[in-house]
Symmetry: C2
Subunit: 190 residues, 2 copies
Protein backbone atom coordinates (compact mmCIF):
# COMPACT_ATOMS: atom_id res chain seq x y z
CA UNK A 1 0.00 0.00 0.00
CA UNK A 2 1.33 3.40 -0.99
CA UNK A 3 1.28 6.29 1.50
CA UNK A 4 -1.55 7.93 -0.46
CA UNK A 5 -4.73 6.43 -1.86
CA UNK A 6 -4.35 5.47 -5.53
CA UNK A 7 -7.09 4.72 -8.07
CA UNK A 8 -5.51 1.32 -8.80
CA UNK A 9 -3.61 -1.54 -7.19
CA UNK A 10 -0.55 -1.44 -9.45
CA UNK A 11 2.86 -1.51 -7.78
CA UNK A 12 5.75 0.96 -7.88
CA UNK A 13 5.82 3.61 -10.57
CA UNK A 14 3.09 1.94 -12.62
CA UNK A 15 0.47 2.75 -9.98
CA UNK A 16 1.60 6.39 -9.75
CA UNK A 17 1.58 6.96 -13.51
CA UNK A 18 -1.95 5.56 -13.81
CA UNK A 19 -3.18 7.43 -10.74
CA UNK A 20 -2.45 10.83 -12.22
CA UNK A 21 -2.37 10.48 -16.02
CA UNK A 22 -1.82 14.22 -16.58
CA UNK A 23 1.60 14.17 -14.92
CA UNK A 24 2.14 10.54 -16.00
CA UNK A 25 2.01 11.36 -19.72
CA UNK A 26 5.02 13.73 -19.93
CA UNK A 27 7.05 11.47 -17.61
CA UNK A 28 6.38 8.50 -19.90
CA UNK A 29 7.12 10.56 -23.01
CA UNK A 30 10.45 11.81 -21.69
CA UNK A 31 11.46 8.27 -20.73
CA UNK A 32 10.45 6.80 -24.08
CA UNK A 33 12.55 9.42 -25.93
CA UNK A 34 15.60 8.97 -23.71
CA UNK A 35 15.59 5.18 -23.27
CA UNK A 36 13.97 4.00 -26.51
CA UNK A 37 14.37 6.89 -28.95
CA UNK A 38 17.00 7.14 -31.65
CA UNK A 39 20.45 7.10 -30.07
CA UNK A 40 24.01 5.93 -30.64
CA UNK A 41 23.81 4.41 -27.15
CA UNK A 42 22.20 0.97 -27.20
CA UNK A 43 19.05 0.29 -25.18
CA UNK A 44 21.15 -1.95 -22.94
CA UNK A 45 23.64 0.89 -22.31
CA UNK A 46 20.84 3.32 -21.46
CA UNK A 47 19.14 0.81 -19.17
CA UNK A 48 22.49 0.28 -17.42
CA UNK A 49 22.64 3.99 -16.56
CA UNK A 50 19.07 3.82 -15.19
CA UNK A 51 19.90 0.71 -13.16
CA UNK A 52 23.12 2.13 -11.69
CA UNK A 53 21.39 5.34 -10.58
CA UNK A 54 18.41 3.44 -9.10
CA UNK A 55 20.78 1.16 -7.21
CA UNK A 56 22.71 4.11 -5.79
CA UNK A 57 19.46 5.82 -4.81
CA UNK A 58 18.58 2.61 -2.95
CA UNK A 59 15.29 2.32 -4.82
CA UNK A 60 14.66 -1.41 -4.76
CA UNK A 61 11.62 -1.36 -7.05
CA UNK A 62 13.40 0.57 -9.83
CA UNK A 63 16.64 -1.37 -9.41
CA UNK A 64 14.82 -4.70 -9.72
CA UNK A 65 12.80 -3.47 -12.71
CA UNK A 66 15.74 -2.09 -14.68
CA UNK A 67 18.17 -4.86 -13.74
CA UNK A 68 15.55 -7.30 -15.12
CA UNK A 69 15.39 -5.16 -18.27
CA UNK A 70 19.18 -5.26 -18.61
CA UNK A 71 18.99 -9.06 -18.36
CA UNK A 72 16.15 -9.19 -20.87
CA UNK A 73 18.35 -7.19 -23.27
CA UNK A 74 21.20 -9.71 -22.91
CA UNK A 75 23.14 -8.25 -19.96
CA UNK A 76 24.71 -10.78 -17.61
CA UNK A 77 24.72 -11.04 -13.82
CA UNK A 78 28.45 -10.34 -13.90
CA UNK A 79 27.83 -7.11 -15.82
CA UNK A 80 25.23 -5.97 -13.26
CA UNK A 81 27.40 -7.01 -10.34
CA UNK A 82 30.35 -4.98 -11.68
CA UNK A 83 28.22 -1.95 -12.57
CA UNK A 84 26.84 -1.91 -9.02
CA UNK A 85 30.01 -2.59 -7.07
CA UNK A 86 32.97 -1.84 -9.32
CA UNK A 87 31.82 0.23 -12.30
CA UNK A 88 35.42 1.05 -13.29
CA UNK A 89 35.90 -2.68 -14.02
CA UNK A 90 32.56 -3.28 -15.73
CA UNK A 91 32.78 -5.30 -18.96
CA UNK A 92 31.65 -2.39 -21.13
CA UNK A 93 33.44 -0.07 -23.56
CA UNK A 94 35.83 2.57 -22.26
CA UNK A 95 33.27 5.15 -23.40
CA UNK A 96 30.53 3.51 -21.33
CA UNK A 97 32.80 3.35 -18.29
CA UNK A 98 33.35 7.11 -18.60
CA UNK A 99 29.61 7.72 -19.04
CA UNK A 100 28.73 5.51 -16.06
CA UNK A 101 31.22 7.49 -13.97
CA UNK A 102 29.40 10.70 -14.97
CA UNK A 103 26.02 9.12 -14.15
CA UNK A 104 27.30 8.09 -10.71
CA UNK A 105 28.34 11.68 -10.02
CA UNK A 106 25.00 13.06 -11.25
CA UNK A 107 23.27 10.66 -8.83
CA UNK A 108 25.06 12.33 -5.94
CA UNK A 109 24.89 15.97 -7.04
CA UNK A 110 25.01 17.72 -10.40
CA UNK A 111 27.90 19.93 -9.44
CA UNK A 112 30.14 16.92 -8.77
CA UNK A 113 30.54 16.47 -12.53
CA UNK A 114 33.73 18.25 -13.62
CA UNK A 115 35.12 19.41 -16.95
CA UNK A 116 37.69 16.66 -16.64
CA UNK A 117 34.97 13.96 -16.36
CA UNK A 118 33.53 15.31 -19.60
CA UNK A 119 36.95 15.42 -21.27
CA UNK A 120 37.55 11.80 -20.29
CA UNK A 121 34.24 10.75 -21.84
CA UNK A 122 34.99 12.72 -24.99
CA UNK A 123 38.50 11.27 -25.26
CA UNK A 124 37.01 7.77 -25.19
CA UNK A 125 34.68 8.62 -28.04
CA UNK A 126 31.52 9.98 -26.38
CA UNK A 127 29.62 12.59 -28.39
CA UNK A 128 27.97 15.67 -26.88
CA UNK A 129 24.54 14.14 -27.28
CA UNK A 130 25.66 10.93 -25.56
CA UNK A 131 27.00 12.99 -22.65
CA UNK A 132 23.78 15.01 -22.59
CA UNK A 133 21.59 11.93 -22.56
CA UNK A 134 23.68 10.23 -19.87
CA UNK A 135 23.23 13.24 -17.57
CA UNK A 136 19.51 13.56 -18.32
CA UNK A 137 18.82 9.81 -17.91
CA UNK A 138 20.66 9.87 -14.57
CA UNK A 139 18.71 12.98 -13.51
CA UNK A 140 15.41 11.41 -14.63
CA UNK A 141 16.02 8.34 -12.50
CA UNK A 142 16.77 10.61 -9.54
CA UNK A 143 13.20 11.81 -10.09
CA UNK A 144 11.73 8.31 -10.53
CA UNK A 145 13.49 6.79 -7.51
CA UNK A 146 12.30 9.62 -5.23
CA UNK A 147 8.77 9.51 -6.60
CA UNK A 148 8.47 5.74 -6.09
CA UNK A 149 10.02 5.62 -2.61
CA UNK A 150 8.85 9.04 -1.36
CA UNK A 151 5.24 7.87 -1.72
CA UNK A 152 5.98 4.46 -0.21
CA UNK A 153 4.62 2.49 -3.18
CA UNK A 154 4.06 -1.25 -3.05
CA UNK A 155 7.03 -3.36 -4.15
CA UNK A 156 6.43 -6.97 -5.21
CA UNK A 157 8.96 -9.52 -3.95
CA UNK A 158 8.38 -12.10 -6.70
CA UNK A 159 11.17 -11.95 -9.35
CA UNK A 160 8.65 -13.13 -11.93
CA UNK A 161 6.86 -9.78 -11.62
CA UNK A 162 10.01 -7.92 -12.69
CA UNK A 163 10.62 -10.35 -15.55
CA UNK A 164 7.11 -9.68 -16.90
CA UNK A 165 7.59 -5.93 -16.48
CA UNK A 166 11.01 -6.07 -18.21
CA UNK A 167 9.56 -8.03 -21.08
CA UNK A 168 6.98 -5.28 -21.54
CA UNK A 169 9.65 -2.54 -21.33
CA UNK A 170 11.69 -4.33 -24.01
CA UNK A 171 8.85 -5.05 -26.42
CA UNK A 172 6.49 -2.09 -25.88
CA UNK A 173 8.71 0.48 -24.16
CA UNK A 174 7.60 3.23 -21.83
CA UNK A 175 4.52 4.52 -23.63
CA UNK A 176 1.12 3.90 -22.11
CA UNK A 177 -0.55 0.86 -23.66
CA UNK A 178 -3.47 2.10 -25.75
CA UNK A 179 -5.99 -0.08 -23.95
CA UNK A 180 -4.90 1.27 -20.57
CA UNK A 181 -2.23 0.01 -18.25
CA UNK A 182 -4.70 -0.48 -15.41
CA UNK A 183 -6.56 -3.21 -17.29
CA UNK A 184 -3.41 -4.70 -18.78
CA UNK A 185 -1.91 -4.43 -15.33
CA UNK A 186 -4.49 -6.77 -13.90
CA UNK A 187 -2.92 -9.50 -15.98
CA UNK A 188 0.64 -8.25 -16.00
CA UNK A 189 1.26 -7.32 -12.44
CA UNK A 190 -0.66 -9.73 -10.25
CA UNK B 1 29.85 27.92 -21.37
CA UNK B 2 28.21 24.58 -20.79
CA UNK B 3 30.25 21.36 -20.90
CA UNK B 4 28.61 20.45 -24.23
CA UNK B 5 27.99 22.56 -27.29
CA UNK B 6 24.48 24.03 -27.35
CA UNK B 7 22.58 25.53 -30.31
CA UNK B 8 22.05 28.76 -28.34
CA UNK B 9 23.67 31.05 -25.79
CA UNK B 10 20.91 30.89 -23.18
CA UNK B 11 21.96 30.25 -19.58
CA UNK B 12 21.01 27.49 -17.16
CA UNK B 13 18.04 25.29 -17.92
CA UNK B 14 16.74 27.61 -20.64
CA UNK B 15 19.67 26.75 -22.92
CA UNK B 16 19.20 23.01 -22.35
CA UNK B 17 15.46 23.03 -23.04
CA UNK B 18 15.99 24.92 -26.31
CA UNK B 19 18.94 22.77 -27.32
CA UNK B 20 16.93 19.57 -27.37
CA UNK B 21 13.25 20.51 -27.83
CA UNK B 22 12.10 16.87 -27.97
CA UNK B 23 13.12 16.20 -24.37
CA UNK B 24 12.46 19.85 -23.43
CA UNK B 25 8.75 19.65 -24.28
CA UNK B 26 7.69 16.96 -21.75
CA UNK B 27 9.90 18.54 -19.04
CA UNK B 28 8.18 21.90 -19.59
CA UNK B 29 4.74 20.27 -19.68
CA UNK B 30 5.27 18.40 -16.42
CA UNK B 31 6.50 21.58 -14.72
CA UNK B 32 3.61 23.67 -16.01
CA UNK B 33 1.08 21.13 -14.66
CA UNK B 34 2.77 20.81 -11.27
CA UNK B 35 3.70 24.46 -10.61
CA UNK B 36 0.98 26.34 -12.51
CA UNK B 37 -1.85 23.85 -12.96
CA UNK B 38 -4.99 23.67 -10.84
CA UNK B 39 -4.04 23.00 -7.22
CA UNK B 40 -5.06 23.77 -3.66
CA UNK B 41 -1.43 24.73 -3.07
CA UNK B 42 -0.72 28.31 -4.11
CA UNK B 43 1.89 29.08 -6.77
CA UNK B 44 4.00 30.64 -4.01
CA UNK B 45 3.80 27.44 -1.94
CA UNK B 46 4.79 25.29 -4.92
CA UNK B 47 7.66 27.60 -5.83
CA UNK B 48 8.85 27.41 -2.20
CA UNK B 49 9.16 23.62 -2.51
CA UNK B 50 11.16 24.05 -5.76
CA UNK B 51 13.41 26.66 -4.13
CA UNK B 52 14.09 24.61 -1.00
CA UNK B 53 15.05 21.53 -3.02
CA UNK B 54 17.26 23.55 -5.39
CA UNK B 55 19.00 25.17 -2.43
CA UNK B 56 19.65 21.81 -0.79
CA UNK B 57 20.95 20.41 -4.07
CA UNK B 58 23.34 23.38 -4.14
CA UNK B 59 22.14 24.40 -7.59
CA UNK B 60 22.81 28.12 -7.62
CA UNK B 61 21.11 28.83 -10.95
CA UNK B 62 17.82 27.15 -9.95
CA UNK B 63 17.91 28.55 -6.41
CA UNK B 64 18.37 32.10 -7.72
CA UNK B 65 15.65 31.64 -10.35
CA UNK B 66 13.03 30.20 -8.00
CA UNK B 67 13.88 32.46 -5.05
CA UNK B 68 13.32 35.39 -7.43
CA UNK B 69 10.00 33.82 -8.42
CA UNK B 70 9.01 33.45 -4.75
CA UNK B 71 9.79 37.16 -4.30
CA UNK B 72 7.84 38.07 -7.45
CA UNK B 73 4.86 36.18 -5.98
CA UNK B 74 5.05 38.22 -2.75
CA UNK B 75 7.39 36.06 -0.63
CA UNK B 76 9.74 37.96 1.67
CA UNK B 77 13.48 37.62 2.30
CA UNK B 78 12.65 36.46 5.81
CA UNK B 79 10.47 33.68 4.40
CA UNK B 80 13.27 32.51 2.09
CA UNK B 81 15.87 32.77 4.83
CA UNK B 82 13.78 30.61 7.17
CA UNK B 83 12.89 28.06 4.48
CA UNK B 84 16.59 27.65 3.68
CA UNK B 85 18.03 27.59 7.18
CA UNK B 86 15.21 26.82 9.59
CA UNK B 87 12.22 25.41 7.69
CA UNK B 88 10.50 24.29 10.92
CA UNK B 89 10.21 27.97 11.86
CA UNK B 90 9.22 29.29 8.42
CA UNK B 91 6.28 31.74 8.47
CA UNK B 92 3.99 29.38 6.58
CA UNK B 93 0.99 27.27 7.59
CA UNK B 94 1.48 24.16 9.69
CA UNK B 95 0.46 22.16 6.62
CA UNK B 96 3.19 23.79 4.52
CA UNK B 97 5.77 23.16 7.23
CA UNK B 98 4.88 19.46 7.13
CA UNK B 99 5.03 19.44 3.31
CA UNK B 100 8.38 21.26 3.27
CA UNK B 101 9.72 18.65 5.71
CA UNK B 102 8.64 15.91 3.28
CA UNK B 103 10.24 17.78 0.35
CA UNK B 104 13.50 18.08 2.30
CA UNK B 105 13.53 14.32 2.85
CA UNK B 106 12.74 13.61 -0.81
CA UNK B 107 15.71 15.80 -1.74
CA UNK B 108 17.99 13.47 0.20
CA UNK B 109 16.48 10.11 -0.72
CA UNK B 110 12.93 8.91 -1.41
CA UNK B 111 13.06 6.21 1.22
CA UNK B 112 13.72 8.75 3.97
CA UNK B 113 10.05 9.73 3.86
CA UNK B 114 8.18 7.74 6.52
CA UNK B 115 4.54 6.94 7.17
CA UNK B 116 4.76 9.25 10.17
CA UNK B 117 5.87 12.21 7.97
CA UNK B 118 2.78 11.58 5.85
CA UNK B 119 0.54 11.29 8.91
CA UNK B 120 1.86 14.59 10.23
CA UNK B 121 1.07 16.30 6.92
CA UNK B 122 -2.39 14.77 6.86
CA UNK B 123 -3.08 15.77 10.48
CA UNK B 124 -2.27 19.38 9.58
CA UNK B 125 -4.76 19.31 6.72
CA UNK B 126 -2.76 18.14 3.69
CA UNK B 127 -4.74 16.14 1.13
CA UNK B 128 -3.40 13.11 -0.75
CA UNK B 129 -2.98 15.13 -3.92
CA UNK B 130 -1.06 17.85 -2.05
CA UNK B 131 1.26 15.19 -0.60
CA UNK B 132 1.62 13.63 -4.07
CA UNK B 133 2.44 16.93 -5.71
CA UNK B 134 4.93 17.89 -2.99
CA UNK B 135 6.84 14.65 -3.55
CA UNK B 136 6.73 14.95 -7.33
CA UNK B 137 7.75 18.65 -7.36
CA UNK B 138 10.68 17.82 -5.05
CA UNK B 139 11.64 14.87 -7.28
CA UNK B 140 11.34 17.02 -10.42
CA UNK B 141 13.72 19.61 -9.02
CA UNK B 142 16.17 16.83 -8.18
CA UNK B 143 16.11 16.20 -11.94
CA UNK B 144 16.41 19.89 -12.89
CA UNK B 145 19.23 20.67 -10.48
CA UNK B 146 21.29 17.71 -11.72
CA UNK B 147 20.60 18.50 -15.37
CA UNK B 148 21.64 22.15 -14.98
CA UNK B 149 24.78 21.51 -12.92
CA UNK B 150 25.75 18.13 -14.40
CA UNK B 151 26.20 19.81 -17.78
CA UNK B 152 27.99 22.81 -16.29
CA UNK B 153 25.60 25.38 -17.77
CA UNK B 154 26.33 29.10 -17.72
CA UNK B 155 25.01 30.95 -14.65
CA UNK B 156 24.56 34.73 -14.84
CA UNK B 157 25.69 36.70 -11.77
CA UNK B 158 23.46 39.71 -12.37
CA UNK B 159 20.35 39.61 -10.07
CA UNK B 160 18.44 41.53 -12.75
CA UNK B 161 18.60 38.43 -14.97
CA UNK B 162 16.76 36.36 -12.36
CA UNK B 163 14.19 39.10 -11.83
CA UNK B 164 13.40 39.11 -15.56
CA UNK B 165 13.23 35.32 -15.62
CA UNK B 166 10.96 35.28 -12.53
CA UNK B 167 8.67 37.84 -14.08
CA UNK B 168 8.30 35.55 -17.10
CA UNK B 169 7.68 32.49 -14.89
CA UNK B 170 4.94 34.39 -13.03
CA UNK B 171 3.18 35.86 -16.07
CA UNK B 172 3.75 33.18 -18.75
CA UNK B 173 4.67 30.12 -16.72
CA UNK B 174 6.78 27.19 -17.87
CA UNK B 175 5.39 26.62 -21.35
CA UNK B 176 7.58 27.43 -24.34
CA UNK B 177 6.76 30.87 -25.74
CA UNK B 178 5.07 30.37 -29.10
CA UNK B 179 7.54 32.60 -30.93
CA UNK B 180 10.45 30.58 -29.58
CA UNK B 181 12.41 31.08 -26.42
CA UNK B 182 15.67 31.43 -28.29
CA UNK B 183 14.55 34.66 -29.93
CA UNK B 184 12.73 35.93 -26.86
CA UNK B 185 15.82 34.91 -24.94
CA UNK B 186 17.97 37.31 -26.87
CA UNK B 187 16.01 40.09 -25.19
CA UNK B 188 15.22 38.38 -21.93
CA UNK B 189 18.45 36.80 -20.96
CA UNK B 190 21.24 39.06 -22.09
Amino acid sequence: MAYIELNNQLPGITGLLENRPDTGAPIRELTQILLRGESTLTELERELIATLVSYRNECRYCTSAHAATVRALGGTEDLLEKVFHDPGEAPVSEKMRALLAIAAKVQRLGKEVTASDIEKARASGASDIEIHDTVLIAALFCLYNRYVDGLGTYRPEDPAYYQRLASRLVTIGYSRPKDGLARKGEELYK
